[in-house]
Symmetry: C2
Subunit: 341 residues, 2 copies
């Protein structure tokens, strides 16, 4: 296990509800015995004397409105860049940010080494659904992919699901426009054939768009363009239906009373679908796991993102992924040829 394996470097900016929510989340994680190094404004972060927590005073941050790559390259003092640097220096072993996904991806991709055999890191979203959460990747790190990348994404996702999320034999689906093996773009058809032959994962074949919210598999794999759009489209559709129902409930007195009576039963659903219940998105394929929580997180969301990163570090998830890629040969041979990246 690498040195500092239970220490998480946390970007102290980016929580939309303010520093107090971040602090409350860090306290929850620290109460579990986790070690956290927070890169944020010391004056705002009342974390002095919290056991296991160190604040490294940092005043700069990169916002959602900034172009990630140039921002990360030009601003070594920004909180996310310093948090990644902390891992590089061996003080921490995983990174967590609740801020800009783009900046976090850029900082981690530039600053951390790729796992042995990994061609392209991928961003995986944990989608909270009734019954189980689905690990959906790639949701934006790689807009153009070839079959070999899709194949690796399947292994990256399955390995993380098993070692960190605790799914003993994760099922893996490949997103396409039809269930049959021949349906889809040529890269998808090729990836399907390779994954069907794999003995290392439980490949259930192609799945369709509607199968994501239906949670038909533990891991669902696609390219970063399709994944990003499908994820946001689902979020938008859920919000639309939820809002429409809320507004229907407010349309007259009878409905309002009815809505009030339904409220307790709705609470469970809200908890199940709420982003706080899962740790957000995870950048897979680097030597150290990077977790990007939702900016809208409450204290539980912050704590869960830290817990997820700490768990990944504790089991050394990236090393387990390297071993799996080596076993299946997905890091070399036929799959390797012709790919300079």
């Amino acid at each position: 296990m690498p040195e500092g394996s239970s220490t998480v470097a946390l970007d102290g900016f980016g929580v939309e509800k303010g520093f107090d929510v971040l602090v409350a989340g860090v306290r929850k994680a620290a109460a579990d015995g986790l070690k956290v190094r927070v890169f944020g404004p010391a004056a705002e972060l009342s974390l002095v004397k919290v056991e296991g927590v160190t604040v490294v005073d940092t005043s700069e941050s990169i916002g959602n409105d900034q172009d990630p790559v140039p921002a990360v390259r030009s601003r070594p003092e920004a909180s996310i860049v310093r948090a990644v640097d902390d891992v590089k220096q061996g003080n921490s072993s995983a990174v967590v940010s609740l801020g800009s996904t783009g900046a976090t991806m850029a900082a981690a991709t530039f600053g951390l080494r790729r796992s042995l055999g990994v061609k392209r890191p991928a961003l995986a979203a944990q989608i909270p659904l009734p019954g189980r959460s689905v690990l959906f990747l790639d949701v934006g790190a790689n807009l153009d992919v070839r079959a070999q990348h899709l194949i690796q994404f399947a292994y990256l996702g399955a390995s993380f699901s098993r070692s960190v999320l605790g799914v003993s034999n994760p099922s893996v689906g490949l997103l396409s426009v039809g269930e049959e093996a021949g349906k889809g773009r040529s890269d998808v058809v090729e990836a399907h054939a390779a994954l069907s032959d794999s003995e290392e994962i439980d490949f259930i074949g192609n799945v369709e768009g509607r199968d994501i919210p239906a949670a038909v598999a533990d891991v669902i794999v696609t390219d970063g363009f399709t994944g990003n759009i499908a994820l946001k489209a689902m979020e938008g559709a859920s919000r639309l239906v939820g809002d429409a129902i809320t507004s229907a409930a407010r349309s007259n007195l009878l409905s309002a009373l009815g809505g009030l009576m339904m409220k307790p039963a709705m609470g469970g659903l809200r908890r199940e679908l709420h982003p706080d219940t899962t740790g957000g998105a995870i950048l897979l394929g680097l030597r150290n796991v990077t977790v990007v929580g939702h900016g809208s997180s409450g204290p539980d969301g912050v704590a869960n993102a830290i817990r997820l990163a700490a768990r990944a570090a504790a089991v050394d998830a990236p090393f387990l992924t390297e071993q799996m890629l080596h076993r299946v040969g997905a890091n070399r041979g036929a799959i390797d040829s012709g790919d300079p990246a």
Copy 2:
């Protein structure tokens, strides 16, 4: 206006709720004065003596479970093939099916001529949303596209929205992973640049996945792989949230009573989001418009699909599209070069 411009050829199979629902829908459309030629089992279709309606006795059909292309090629007597043939022979001027989308696309693509200058027909879905319906294309006809195809899809969609759906100056968005012009795959970035220069359409730039359910534009354009998956993912997410709320409403007596009291207010929402309120999907880019209604349609869904096809034929929508493509030069010159298709 072409001969038989107000006559619609209807595939008499495919309505899941049975022939009586199809018959009820045809009667509604006929009551508007529309002419319909129905290709289905005469004995099941009680449409004798309905003015404007002809039944052409047809016993074969292609189901959702059959591989569309070989089925269409090998079965000239199947209802959808005969309906398309009827248009080819000049008896009807538009096709409607409530059956297999794949078989309908295949039959129309093989049987009907492409509009002048159109490289690839595209399947457009009418998504019913509160406030307005969004025309979303391509949702499955073209899995691999180049920039020039995306550009044409924008014109195909805008032209149909204006001439058939009655939107006077339809806004058009291009689906990508970020709003900035430089965000997205290279084909998307290239299409963005070309559409930005267009004076013929109101191009609002890139839109993201969440902007589809938010209905930020009248027409939203993407490739058929992404479009198919995003559409199904949104349908799945809406159903999930809707079902979860229904089940919450049934979880105890108080909730059930509350749900009952909210029911009248929910009716309006259900009407707004119900597939019956729009005509389904439309295959654009052929000399004759083809409409694919939802298999789950009720009588209104069937009637609306027929009305949509009849309106498209009456205004000769494909000819108007040809004119627009000619005006903008999107059917020749730079855009044409290098594309053998």
